[in-house]
């Protein structure tokens, strides 16, 4: 007998409230129609809107409803978290203009003057604004914000994010960071700045990505991949890529045992991946060159 969603369905058929937006649509439709006939139809009396909760505002922001989220944050009061949310919504709320960005920057700057989570998040977003500013990005300024945050030693969400973003800038576009070797050297010390396993894994991954992008296929790059792999659980969507990369890099570096083990793990754990035929052929040719 097939399971049925009866209970869920019963809950779902409970009378639903008419959404405010629908009433609004109907009002507009009636107004448009009524303009011709001069008639008016009584509508249900509008209920006073309840004050939004911070959670509702964050929820709206999480799905990209910047206008709604901004308005909800403004109505939830003047707490630091609400002010932070309003400033984040402002960065993306269309139209994004120099004045709206300046306003957001000023709000973040004010919030960053503390030492709580809101201050750290504000500092992080000051860095992100400098980095991803649509009009005048300033990468050195972004790097300085991240360095300030990392220097607090808080190792919280925002410091961890800042650490990886700082690594990305140093590895790629930060002016004056020198040649690729100097850039690689500048990010290795960042690994010691966090005890968080996921952040360390992310650092290993961005370092390996930058090295491979410049075709630096050496044991150091392999070490970063292996460290990332060790910190990645089986369900993680990044793992199949890391296994293939480890296998191929180990093969190029002459570490056939690691190549063999990585390819075998990939074939065992991801039998439906589109690369299985290719990986299987690579495993077959692990003692020679690939592609044959």
């Amino acid at each position: 007998m097939r399971p049925t969603p009866t209970n869920r369905a019963a809950a779902a058929v409970a009378p639903a409230r008419v959404p405010c937006r629908m009433i609004l649509v109907r009002c507009i439709a009636l107004a448009a129609l009524g303009a011709g006939g001069g008639l008016a139809l009584p509508l249900p009396a509008a209920q006073p809107a309840a004050a939004p909760q911070l959670t509702d505002a964050w929820q709206a922001l999480s799905i990209g409803s910047y206008e709604d989220a901004g308005a909800q944050f403004e109505r939830t009061g003047a707490g630091r978290e609400a002010r932070l949310g309003a400033a984040i919504a402002l960065i993306n709320r269309p139209p994004v203009t120099p004045s709206s960005l300046a306003e957001a920057q000023s709000r973040f700057t004010a919030l960053a003057q503390g030492d709580d989570e809101a201050a750290h998040a504000a500092r992080y977003f000051l860095g992100r604004m400098q980095q991803l500013h649509p009009i005048a990005p300033d990468l050195p300024a972004a790097a300085r914000e991240y360095e300030t945050l990392v220097a607090t030693g808080a190792d919280d969400t925002w410091c961890r994010l800042a650490l990886v973003k700082l690594a990305i800038l140093r590895l790629t576009l930060l002016p004056g960071a020198g040649n690729p070797a100097a850039r690689f050297a500048a990010v290795e010390p960042l690994l010691a700045q966090t005890r968080d396993a996921v952040t360390r894994r992310d650092l290993h991954l961005v370092i390996a990505e930058a090295r491979m992008s410049r075709r630096v296929y050496d044991p150091v790059t392999l070490g970063h991949l292996q460290a990332a792999l060790a910190a990645t659980d089986a369900a993680d969507a990044l793992r199949p890529d890391i296994l293939v990369q480890t296998g191929r890099l180990a093969h190029l570096a002459g570490d056939r045992a690691t190549a063999r083990a990585s390819y075998a793990a990939f074939l065992r754990d991801y039998p439906k991946d589109r690369r299985c035929y290719t990986v299987n052929a690579a495993l077959t040719h692990v003692d020679g060159s690939f592609p044959p």
């Binding site: 439709a29 008639l39 911070l54 992310d202 990505e209 296929y217 993680d236």
Partner: protein, 536 residues
């Protein structure tokens, strides 16, 4: 009453009638009230798609009726909207908060993909659970995603930048060379499609010699612009692997076009010249003036027996099957092998089905759905072994679920994964389509030069090469701009998730890891652009 007064009265009467009708329509949203079940209003779920091919609406109706038999408390409604107005229709419904619960949607446009979380719900939490409708089958207890032929993961169902599943595919397709079996037997004396590229070229000569005016391939502008890029990429698969710098067996467009900016390849590189020769040879087999013809003209020529074959997707098979007066066969166009001196040497053979094994017709759960659990339950049924078998048989589209038998007549279309893949599914280089619209347009608008009697590969190369580098730079800059916009939006969304419950926080951490990788790839590309063009 004079004539003028009568006219005014009639006008007011019409206005009044229109007003009354509008009131009824607005308050009942144009739909009849659902009939109650056991004294309760039924749960109504609606789904929308643009698949108007022969038999599709009937197949959807059949599966909806079957689901309603299992669940009398639910009513399932189908909306079939023509493809040419579908995007506009969908946008309007989304903006008006009146979109159906389940939406068939497919886009490669990065800015549209970035908007997905705004309108659709991630289904990861459901897709990792077993599908209850598979109880008592070999897929009992298997996580839902792993019951699909592609593990539930392809460009449309799994959105890389969000590290989340958003849709499930109800069907599967392949690109094939469909042919008139009766005509092939009449021409060659046997019902065997060519096994290699040179035999295929020879077949073209036999076709033209068999009957004046008979065409080898019913060509059209539409099937040229989707077939050629695939053909070119397949013919260059071994060469493309050289640009898989990050060693994923999935070369990316950034690496490939970055290598061009570094001077590692250009249009005169031997692999690309071979690819252009293949394109030219292919065009010679098509209908004269094919670049001016559309897909329907090509289909009509094939169905009238004026052409031996037509390149097409299996989604059109039910229509062809219903209208053809001859037997239809299909084969995958063979690629030139390493021994082929004119065209070969750059493909890594064998190749899998075009695009590999993947599901099609993805359905997304909208955020506005009032009954998300029921909508998901309906999707579970359609993609169970039983539901998908019924749907596949009724629609003559291939099943998306592992182990569902494929009807004998559709066996030749079955996807195969026994071949080398060298490019990334989502961000891979498509040599002919390039990193953006300007590059695609450059290749497409000059195609006539390749096929003109006084044109050819050299003329086509000359027409493109002067503008190629500048076009790649411009397209890459646009792509970087779009991706930077996406990063800004994702930053805000993930920050918000950090302030929600523990599950959302864990999800944000998971997605941040993917975002870091996307970000460094964008910056590495920007660094290559700055280094090779001398300007940021």
């Amino acid at each position: 009453m004079n004539r003028r007064k009568r006219s005014v009265l009639v006008a007011f009467a019409l206005l009044g009638a229109a007003y009354a009708f509008s009131l009824v329509y607005v308050f009942h949203l144009g739909r009849p009230a659902p009939a109650p079940v056991a004294g309760r209003p039924p749960v109504v779920i609606r789904f929308v798609h643009w698949q108007l091919e022969s038999g599709m609406r009937e197949a959807f109706d059949l599966i909806a009726r079957r689901y309603m038999e299992l669940h009398p408390e639910v009513r399932v409604e189908q909306f079939a909207v023509p493809g040419n107005v579908y995007p506009q229709w969908l946008r309007t419904q989304l903006a008006g908060d009146d979109v159906p619960d389940l939406v068939c949607f497919n886009s490669t446009d990065p800015s549209q993909v970035s908007q997905l979380p705004r309108y659709f719900q991630a289904i990861t939490r459901w897709i990792n659970e077993p599908n209850p409708y598979n109880a008592g089958t070999p897929l009992a207890g298997v996580p839902w995603r792993l019951t699909f032929i592609d593990g539930g993961r392809n460009r449309a169902t799994y959105i890389d930048q969000y590290r989340n599943y958003y849709a499930v595919g109800l069907s599967a397709h392949t690109m094939q060379m469909f042919y008139n079996r009766d005509l092939l037997v009449a021409i060659t004396g046997r019902d065997e499609p060519p096994k290699d590229f040179q035999s295929w070229i020879e077949l073209g000569k036999m076709v033209r010699a068999y009957r004046p005016g008979l065409i080898h391939i019913a060509g059209a502008h539409d099937n040229t612009i989707w077939l050629m890029p695939t053909l070119v990429n397949s013919a260059l698969s071994r060469w493309l692997l050289e640009y898989d710098h990050e060693l994923r067996f999935a070369a990316s467009g950034f690496d490939f076009y970055g290598a061009m900016l570094e001077g590692r390849w250009d249009l005169r590189s031997p692999p690309l010249q071979a690819a252009l020769r293949i394109m030219q040879a292919f065009g010679r087999e098509m209908s004269p003036g094919f670049l001016q013809l559309n897909r329907d003209s090509a289909m009509r020529a094939f169905l009238r027996g004026e052409a031996l074959s037509i390149p097409n997707g299996t989604w059109d098979y039910p229509t062809m099957r219903a209208q053809a007066t001859f037997r239809i066969g299909a084969f995958a166009l063979p690629m030139p092998g390493p021994e082929d001196r004119e065209f070969g040497g750059y493909a890594l053979l064998p190749l899998p089905s075009v695009g590999g094994i993947t599901t099609a017709m993805p359905f997304y759960l909208t955020r506005q759905s009032r009954h998300p659990e029921v909508a998901i339950d309906f999707l579970r049924y359609v993609t169970s072994m039983d539901g998908n078998r019924r749907f596949s048989r009724a629609s003559h589209w291939m099943p998306s679920v592992e182990g569902v038998e494929i009807e004998p007549e559709m066996q030749p279309f079955k996807q195969n994964n026994t071949g080398f893949t060298t490019t990334d599914l989502q961000n891979g280089p498509i040599v002919m389509n390039g990193p953006g619209a300007d590059y695609t347009q450059l290749f497409e608008t000059n195609l006539h030069v390749l096929y003109a009697p006084n044109g050819g590969v050299e003329a086509y190369t000359r027409a493109l090469e002067g503008q190629l580098r500048e076009t790649v730079v411009s397209d890459l800059r646009k792509q970087i701009h779009v991706q930077s916009e996406n990063l800004r939006r994702r930053d805000a969304a993930l920050a918000a998730q950090h302030f929600l419950d523990a599950a959302e926080q864990a999800e944000a951490v998971r997605q941040q890891s993917g975002l870091h990788l996307s970000e460094i790839q964008v910056y590495l590309m920007e660094e290559t652009l700055a280094r090779t063009t001398g300007s940021p």
